[in-house]
C-alpha cells in the first residue's frame, strides 16, 4: 500500500486533471466526488510501478475515464445537464468567457470532451491520446477536427486560433 506522502503528492499533481475529467462526464457533484476518491483509492492499492510521471498521469486518466464510464453505464444518466445544474458553485466562479466555453464543451458528445480537454489543456498529442484512450490515431484526429468544428459553431468565429 502506498504511503501518505506518495498519495498526497498524487492528489496535488493529478487532482485538478481528475476533477475536470469528472466534471466533463458526470452529472453532479456527488458522483464526481465519489469517483475522485475511488480513483485515489485504486492508486493507494495499486502495487505496480510507474516508469515515469507521464506514465503515472496516463494511468490516472485511464482509471478516471473508466470509472466515469462505469458509473454512467450502471445508472441511466444520459441526459445532458447545464453547468449550473452540474456545479452551481463553480459556475458562479467562472468568468463569462470561461462559462461559455465550459457550456460549449459540455454540450459535445463525451468522446469529444475527452480529446478536447486532453489535447488543448493537458497538451497530449493525437498518438499519445490514442495510447491513453485506446482508440486509433486516425479516430483521434477525426474526433479533434469534428469537436473543433462544433465548438467553432457554438463559440463563434474566433475559433481558428
Amino acid at each position: 500500500m502506498r504511503g501518505e506522502a506518495e498519495t498526497d503528492l498524487a492528489i496535488q499533481r493529478y487532482g485538478d486533471t481528475i476533477r475536470r475529467l469528472c466534471m466533463l462526464h458526470l452529472k453532479n457533484e456527488a458522483d464526481s466526488q465519489d469517483i475522485f476518491q475511488t480513483v485515489f483509492l485504486k492508486y493507494l492499492l495499486y502495487k505496480g510501478e510507474f516508469e515515469s510521471q507521464e506514465h503515472e498521469k496516463a494511468w490516472f486518466i485511464r482509471v478516471t475515464l473508466n470509472a466515469c464510464k462505469d458509473l454512467l453505464k450502471s445508472v441511466f444518466r444520459s441526459r445532458t445537464v447545464s453547468l449550473e445544474e452540474l456545479s452551481p458553485q463553480y459556475a458562479a466562479g467562472l468568468t463569462d468567457g470561461g462559462r461559455e466555453v465550459w457550456e460549449a464543451v459540455l454540450a459535445l458528445p463525451p468522446k469529444y470532451r475527452d480529446v478536447i480537454y486532453l489535447h488543448y489543456y493537458e497538451g497530449y498529442t493525437a498518438p499519445e491520446l490514442s495510447e491513453i484512450l485506446g482508440r486509433k490515431v486516425n479516430t483521434i484526429y477525426t474526433d479533434l477536427t469534428r469537436a473543433r468544428a462544433r465548438l467553432k459553431e457554438m463559440l463563434g468565429g474566433e475559433a481558428d486560433g
Binding site: I18, R19, K42, G48, L94, G98, V105, I116, Y121, L155
Partner: protein, 243 residues
C-alpha cells in the same frame, strides 16, 4: 480557440475541501487495512472465544475462506473470501494470474472493492476492451453467502460487456485445483471435455476464456478445430496460450 479553452479549463480546479476529504479517506483506508475495523474485531474476538473453546484458533476462523471467487480471462486467479465477505487469500493460477496477484494488495478488502480494483487493472481492462471474455465463478458451501457474493459480483460488473458471472459446484473445486486450474477455467474445461474427451487440463491451461469458449462453440457447431498445440490435425485451429 486554444487560449480560450486553456483559460476556461484552467479556471476549474479540484476543491481544496475535496482534496482534504480524499486524504482523510485514504488515511482511514490505511488504518482499516493495518487494523481491521473495530466491529469486525469484536465479531472476530467473540468468534475467537467461541472457537478457541472448541479447540479451533480464531485466526483460522477469520482467515479461512468460506467462498471462492474464481476470476478468469487469462489471467486466472482465485480470491478466497471469509464469512465477513473479506478477501483473505489471493491465488494466481497461471503466470499472468500470479503476476496480477503479486501486483495488487487485495487482502482484507471487501470482495466488491477487490473486484472493482481487478476490473480496472490494465491486464484485465485491456483484455476486456479487446473483446476477451471474463468469467467470475462463485463457489461456496454456504448458499446464502454464495448468492450474496454472486449478486455483488453481478452488481460490480453491471454494464460491462463480455462478463459472465455464475455459481460453481463446491465438489468440483478440489478437482479443479488438483488439475492445476482455477474453478472458472476448470468448468469451461469440463464443458469442452464433454464435447471432446481427448482434451486435457494442460491443453486449456494457457488459453484465454474467449479461446476456450470459441473452441466449445466450434465443436458444438460441428466445425473443425485445430489441436491446442497448433499442429492442425484433428481439432482444427490454433490455440496459443497466453501463459
Amino acid at each position: 480557440m486554444d487560449e480560450r479553452l486553456k483559460e476556461a479549463f484552467g479556471q476549474f480546479q479540484a476543491e481544496e475541501r475535496l482534496k482534504a476529504d480524499t486524504r482523510a479517506y485514504l488515511n482511514q483506508v490505511r488504518t482499516r487495512k493495518s487494523r481491521p475495523a473495530p466491529r469486525y474485531w469484536l465479531a472476530a474476538a467473540l468468534a475467537c472465544l467461541a472457537l478457541l473453546a472448541a479447540g479451533i484458533g480464531g485466526y483460522q476462523f477469520y482467515f479461512t475462506p468460506t467462498t471462492v471467487l474464481s476470476i478468469d480471462i487469462n489471467p486466472s486467479l482465485e480470491l478466497g473470501v471469509n464469512r465477513f465477505d473479506k478477501v483473505v487469500t489471493v491465488q494466481g493460477y497461471n503466470e499472468d494470474g500470479k503476476a496480477l496477484a503479486d501486483s495488487l494488495d487485495l487482502k482484507l478488502l471487501d470482495y466488491q472493492v477487490a473486484l472493482e480494483v481487478l476490473m480496472e487493472c490494465e491486464s484485465i481492462a485491456d483484455r476486456l476492451a479487446q473483446g476477451q471474455l471474463l468469467s467470475i465463478t462463485v463457489v461456496g458451501e454456504d448458499q446464502t453467502q454464495s448468492d450474496r457474493l454472486l449478486a455483488g459480483a453481478e452488481a460490480c460488473t453491471a454494464g460491462r460487456e463480455n462478463v459472465r458471472c455464475g455459481h460453481g459446484d463446491p465438489e468440483v473445486l478440489e478437482e479443479a485445483h488438483h488439475a492445476g486450474l482455477s474453478m472458472g477455467k476448470y468448468q469451461a474445461y469440463l464443458e469442452l471435455q464433454a464435447l471432446d474427451p481427448t482434451v486435457t487440463p494442460e491443453d486449456v491451461a494457457g488459453l484465454t476464456m474467449r479461446e476456450i469458449r470459441d473452441w466449445i462453440d466450434r465443436l458444438e457447431a460441428g466445425k473443425p478445430v485445430p489441436t491446442p498445440g497448433g499442429q492442425g490435425n484433428g481439432h482444427g485451429h490454433h490455440y496459443h496460450g497466453g501463459g
